[in-house]
């Protein structure tokens, strides 16, 4: 156990690291929440789309020399397009009763996840790779807190993209239509909203955000075909914590998990920091089964 003095010394930087990590988690997780919110599909392949985003960034840089930050829109656009065929894969589920549909979506997207990860391993091998970038390992310090350019840039972009998404959903006509579909698809249809199209659009945006989040992650982490598997459980916890379907909720959920993981390490061995995340998750769900901002999109 560390002394109080020590804890106080470690706390400020732990909080900063936690917030930065939370921002990264949020941007990867938000698409998962959005897809669930609009379509009630639990997308277990979400992490694998983030993985594909990482590879897009890697190959654009390796083959064409595209700077990693410029590949963000490409990642988004490519996976947005993949949203269309992916939609055709999950669409047959919509004919089923809700509960059955949620269950089958888990099985279907788990299969897709395995296929994507094994496909990636087959094409790109199980090799670990790194996206060389000027931010990697560049450090600076503010008020005694050692910071890394990589995480700082990632956090900035995460916040910018998050604000853009929020603005899109709150302010634009299409954004409002997507929210309407998430709240009541039949009523939305009766307003003249093309529900199918909103589904496809949200799928595209959701997968696009996953890939964009992956591209950001690749600035600070290694990529390999199975990295998605490593991400998806935490993403899922964050979404449920924030309230599945809630966009702001995901942001809070991600911050809470990021902070919890960072701060917990001061008091307990790092090997059980995930336990803290799970404990908070269970605690909040006991008090608020619908999550922090359940049902608010």
């Amino acid at each position: 156990m560390l002394s109080l003095e020590m804890v106080l010394a470690l706390l400020p930087s732990s909080i900063v690291y936690g917030i930065f990590l939370g921002g990264l988690y949020a941007i990867i997780a938000v698409g998962l929440s959005m897809i669930f919110g609009v379509m009630k599909v639990i997308n277990l392949a979400h992490g694998d789309f983030a993985m594909l985003g990482m590879y897009i960034t890697f190959w654009l840089l390796t083959i064409f020399g595209v700077p990693p930050l410029l590949s963000l829109p490409v990642s988004f656009a490519v996976m947005f397009a993949v949203g269309f065929p992916f939609m055709w894969l999950v669409k047959p589920l919509f004919k089923r009763p809700l509960e059955e549909m949620i269950n089958s979506s888990v099985i279907l997207t788990y299969g897709a996840s395995l296929a994507l990860a094994s496909g990636a391993q087959m094409i790109w091998t199980s090799n670990f790779r790194r996206v060389p970038n000027p931010y990697w390992g560049t450090t600076f310090s503010i008020g005694g807190i050692g910071l890394d350019m990589g995480y700082t840039v990632v956090f900035m972009f995460a916040v910018i993209v998050y604000l853009m998404l929020y603005f899109f959903l709150i302010r634009t006509k299409v954004g409002k239509a997507i929210r309407a579909v998430s709240q009541d698809p039949d009523a939305a249809a009766l307003m003249g909203i093309d529900v199918d199209r909103m589904h496809t659009l949200s799928m595209g945006i959701g997968l696009g955000l996953a890939a964009l989040g992956g591209s950001l992650l690749s600035l600070v982490y290694y990529l390999y075909p199975w990295v998605g598997e490593q991400l998806v459980l935490l993403m899922f916890i964050i979404c449920v914590l924030g309230g599945l379907g809630s966009i702001l909720g995901v942001f809070y959920g991600a911050l809470i998990i990021g902070l919890a993981e960072s701060i917990a390490v001061i008091f307990i061995p790092a090997s059980i920091k995930d336990v803290v995340a799970y404990a908070i998750f269970l605690g909040i769900l006991l008090i608020r089964p619908q999550g922090l901002l359940g049902g608010k999109m």
Partner: protein, 470 residues
């Protein structure tokens, strides 16, 4: 035109994508099913089942084992080839998907490399080696299930593989139960061969051997270090290494000031590293998987750690991939390793030869796991040659009495508990240094990255370069 109709046009495209996914899934299932394409072209075998009673050594009881051998009709056995027409079934249990796949595949490539070489020269006493490959991902229970399937369904003569110590434990439980010889690839936790098992043979150095070597080298490199922090991953392997380190620490005058295990594969080690920093160490030792080690190296600078960090034991840092991932910052790091070509060694030309051949075949540098895979297959070849039988007990006894020489490992013989008997004398410490021409090793070696490679620095009989303080 309605949207739904427009969407229908997408069907063709979608169908193509779905079909592609289906093909991929099929392929994966095919691999998971254990069918090794390259070797499936053997003539249709005739299966002969024989039952005989054997005595398991050490086990003071008689057991009945059913061994199935396969024979082909077409081959006529020459007198010099007592096993002609038979097939040596080798079950390979490795992590081939998930985060451990990088090394799992490497070990498997070593196995395939040696198998191709041996089969190309007519096999062993006329018998061809046939591989039955199983993947366990990161699920150690699946490793046990895979071993069980290989033994009971595929009826393999010997099981190899593991990589992770956690998988080694579950596999050896199964091979012990069925009395089938098991030769590990990797699996360095001391305890793998300390459980009184008779059917397991480990080809890797154990944690204590790594630690003895590294402790010695690090205390030479940093003689003033007293307070040592150890960052060990929370796996069987990590914790076994940690126990070994703690036991040996007093010998080097070290006080272990930090020993909390950490969760593998976390994107952010900075909070943990801060806490390590707060314990005020003189030296930080890592017991980490490849990517974690590289990330910890990088992030330690971010939190302002400026005391030396070194791997003490590592599943991966002793590979070029580590330099790839860490970049120039890797220069000066030391690590003990089973194998690197860049050392002083009487049989270096043979070693170089295999290194280049492997490079040509797989287009990447050979690493410690691939070497282990090759070694394991030659150990099995030697055992079959001496046993002149594929029976589990005969094979086990033959492996136990191995006494041979492999140019890249040294003299091969096992302790009675099954642990490799050669690492105590042949483990070498390498340091990451700038690539250059040294003693018999050219500067244009393909196994380099960022202008760096591994050079043997200790012990003196193997050193090609001087140990330099980073």
């Amino acid at each position: 035109m309605y949207y739904a109709e427009r969407m229908r046009r997408g069907v063709v495209l979608s169908a193509a994508i779905v079909a592609t996914i289906a093909v991929i899934v099929g392929f994966v299932v095919g691999i998971a099913g254990g069918y090794f394409w390259g070797l499936s072209a053997v003539p249709a075998p005739v299966t002969v089942t024989t039952t005989k009673t054997v005595t398991a050594p050490g086990a003071a009881k008689t057991v009945t084992a059913t061994s199935t051998v396969t024979a082909t009709k077409t081959v006529t056995a020459p007198a010099a080839a007592p096993l002609a027409g038979k097939v040596i079934k080798v079950g390979v249990v490795q992590p081939l998907s998930g985060p451990l796949a990088y090394f799992g595949e490497s070990g498997l490539d070593g196995v395939k490399f040696a198998t191709d070489e041996i089969n190309a020269k007519g096999g062993v006493l006329g018998a061809k080696i046939e591989l039955h490959i199983e993947d366990f991902g990161i699920d150690y229970k699946a490793a046990a299930a895979a071993a069980e399937k290989l033994i009971t369904v595929d009826k393999v003569n010997v099981v190899v593989g593991g990589f992770a110590s956690g998988a080694g434990y579950t596999i050896e439980d199964v091979t012990e139960k069925y009395h089938v010889p098991y030769v590990t690839i990797g699996c360095s936790a001391d305890t793998i061969t300390a459980r009184g098992y008779h059917w397991v043979f480990r080809t890797a150095p154990n944690s204590t051997e790594y630690m003895l070597m590294m402790g010695h080298v690090l205390s030479m490199l940093y003689p003033k270090a007293k307070r040592v922090a150890i960052l060990a991953e929370n796996s069987e392997y990590g914790q076994a290494s940690l126990r070994a380190i703690k036991k040996l620490a007093p010998q080097y005058g070290w006080t272990i000031v930090y020993d909390e295990p950490y969760e593998k594969r976390t994107p952010d080690f900075r909070p943990t590293l801060q806490k390590v920093k707060a314990t005020n160490p003189d030296l930080i030792g890592l017991v980490s998987y490849l990517t974690d080690a590289a990330l910890i190296m990088k992030q330690s600078k971010e939190v302002g750690i400026n005391v030396p960090i070194s791997t003490i034991s590592g599943a991966g840092p002793q590979t070029l991939k580590f330099i790839d991932l860490t970049g120039k910052g890797a220069e000066g790091m030391v690590m003990a390793s089973e194998f690197w070509p860049n050392k002083k060694w009487p049989y270096l030309p043979a070693v170089m030869d295999i290194s280049y051949k492997f490079w040509d075949k797989y287009k990447r540098p050979i690493d410690f796991q691939a070497w282990a895979g090759i070694g394991v297959m030659y150990i099995i070849k030697d055992a079959v040659t001496r046993a002149k039988s594929l029976d589990h007990t005969d094979l086990r006894n033959a492996i136990a009495s191995t006494n041979m020489f492999l140019p890249w490992m040294g003299p091969i013989l096992f302790y009675p508990n099954g642990h490799a008997g050669w690492w105590k004398y042949n483990l070498v410490t390498y340091q990451i240094q700038k690539v250059r021409q040294v003693d018999g090793i050219p500067a244009n070696i393909p196994w380099q990255s960022n202008g760096l490679s591994f050079y043997a620095v200790y012990p003196p009989k193997a050193a090609v370069a001087a140990l330099t303080t980073p």
